[in-house]
Symmetry: C2
Subunit: 176 residues, 2 copies
């Protein structure tokens, strides 16, 4: 398999979750063990020898790729969760949505000072959530080594939010 074949298993759903949005559905990857394994193999190619100290996954779909990759590397998995889900001492970041704001958290002590962290999500769109997650990791004393998404939507201009970070995606879509 190569990255372009991922396109065959990513379902495109127009009008979800609301009119005018084309949704890229990664469940087709999860349902296809060859495609899912391919994503993990690529992550290992990209980051297996970079000496990262920890993997951070963004709730909820980011967990699907971050968890098996942390296991494969034998490195700690840091959860980036919606506010109110983590029971320990947390750091919180507020970020803007299309309408209103949302808040995410990490456990303050899950990132150690000076650690390099790979930040993982399934899809990078505007980059707003990911930027907030990267700021949380920095606030805890870590360094975001790279940002990884299976899918990138560069037409949503995530580089505006993510300037200064290295972003890697396996497959990119360029709008309808």
């Amino acid at each position: 398999m190569d990255d372009k074949k991922l396109d065959d298993v990513i379902r495109k759903v127009p009008g979800f979750p609301k009119p005018g949005i084309l949704f890229y559905d990664i469940t087709g990857i999860l349902m296809n063990p060859e495609a899912f394994s391919h994503c993990l193999d690529r992550m290992e190619q990209l980051y297996g020898h970079t000496g990262i100290d920890a993997v951070a996954g963004i709730e909820a779909r980011g967990f699907l790729f971050a968890a098996p990759f942390a296991l494969r590397l034998g490195k700690p998995l840091v959860l980036v969760r919606k506010k109110g889900k983590l029971p320990g001492a947390t750091l919180t970041r507020t970020f803007e949505l299309e309408y209103g704001t949302d808040e995410i958290q990490i456990h303050r002590d899950d990132v150690k000072i000076g650690q390099t962290v790979l930040l993982v999500d399934d899809l990078i769109a505007t980059g707003g959530t990911i930027k907030a997650a990267a700021e949380l990791i920095a606030q805890a004393g870590g360094k975001v080594k790279d940002i990884f998404g299976v899918i990138g939507l560069p037409f949503l201009e995530y580089e505006r939010y993510l300037r200064g970070y290295r972003v890697t995606t396996l497959i990119e879509y360029h709008g309808e």
Copy 2:
């Protein structure tokens, strides 16, 4: 490592998410690569040779164990998600919470008729969500082969909801 050692890394947080609740925090497992790998090794011991056709994970923490295990087995991963998150044709189940109700969904076509499915969550408490998930799998035509949780809280009497299912957990707590 053995299952009892998991207790050392599972943090117990009194009063979370509200007074009177003792929360069992699995992030300590995720932060400890040896403990996290141990959980996956145990899942493989338990289910590696049972011929299950698919693994289903319950949002969000169930994803953390279901995703790497589906990859390890080379079997499809079915997501059980909160309502409104899955873009395809869905089946929906309503279940009771302490106050009010909640709804979960699966993609109708992700479970094939006659498939045996392992249902995975991080923690089995009252069993209400898991029962609803098991019913969704049955409604789609699948058979729930077994229910797996890293942690079980039998004092919350999950066997009331899960009668007729085989439930396996790695570590059990018996109340405060």
